[in-house]
Amino acid sequence: MSPFEHDLRESLKRREPPQGFAESVLARASAMERPHGHIQFSRWLAVAALVVLMVGGIAASRVIQERRRQADGEKAKEQLIVALRITGSKLRLAHEKFSAIQQRTIELQSQQ
């Protein structure tokens, strides 16, 4: 066997990995896959902020809607009071006229 052949055989010979090699490779691989702690926290923070914004937005729009509904209701109430006042005064006026006509009719009948 020539010295070259000897060296080649030696270099191609199967060698056992050092103790704990597989574990250390797996540990490194999983560390590379998982984001760092602060990145994860930022993601959660962003999601939480989005949820807070959405809930806040819905609540605010409900408050605005309720206030608008109340304002519309108050406006309608004012309109109703005005309408009833006008109707009442005109009905009283008509009633007075009606009473005056009746009175005149009675007077005319008694004269005849």
């Binding site: 209701g73 309608a76 109703l80 005005v82 309408a83 009833l84 008509a94």
Partner: protein, 167 residues
């Protein structure tokens, strides 16, 4: 196209029916009037307003009582700054609508340049509405009240706005 026209006609008919009368012909007075009040309260608005009226407040308590049966209140008031700003003939489009069989006159009074009319609307021979026209020399009022069925509804309306001496 026919379907569309039919739908438009049906919508228009519903609007007129909801008011018993079409008050649109009164819009022409708005330009001449120095003051105008237009109030349209349909049944849904009256119902929602009823919940906001407080019994303890005299005005609101009576308003609640007066409107509990009402199905609509449509009012137009035009104030003119001079006499003769409008002619009674101009009310013809409204008076023409009263020729329908479900309208019957209750009070018609004409004195010089003033005219007061109260008409009752009936459905199935039951009173269910009223129209009041008060045409004064410098003011014109037209009120259509829907859902007036009981005598106390009229008296509640008539007494509205009279200060209560007991208070």
């Amino acid at each position: 196209m026919r379907k569309l026209m039919l739908a438009v006609l049906m919508m228009a008919a519903t609007t007129v029916m909801a008011q018993q009368l079409d008050l649109k012909s009164l819009d022409k007075f708005a330009d001449r009037a120095k003051g105008k009040t237009q109030i349209d309260l349909d049944e849904a608005t009256l119902k929602s307003t009823g919940g906001l009226l407080k019994d303890k407040k005299a005005d609101e308590g009576l308003a609640k009582k007066s409107t509990e049966n009402l199905k609509g209140l449509f009012l137009r008031v035009f104030e003119f700054d001079k006499k003769g700003a409008y002619k009674l003939d101009e009310l013809k489009p409204i008076l023409d609508q009263l020729k329908a069989p479900n309208w019957t006159p209750f009070l018609r009074n004409k004195e010089e340049d003033e005219q007061t009319e109260i008409w009752m609307h009936r459905t199935n021979n039951e009173i269910d509405g009223m129209l009041l026209i008060a045409a004064e020399s410098n003011e014109l009022t037209v009120i259509n009240v829907l859902g007036l069925t009981r005598p106390e509804d009229f008296s509640n309306l008539k007494n509205f706005g009279i200060p209560n001496i007991k208070e």
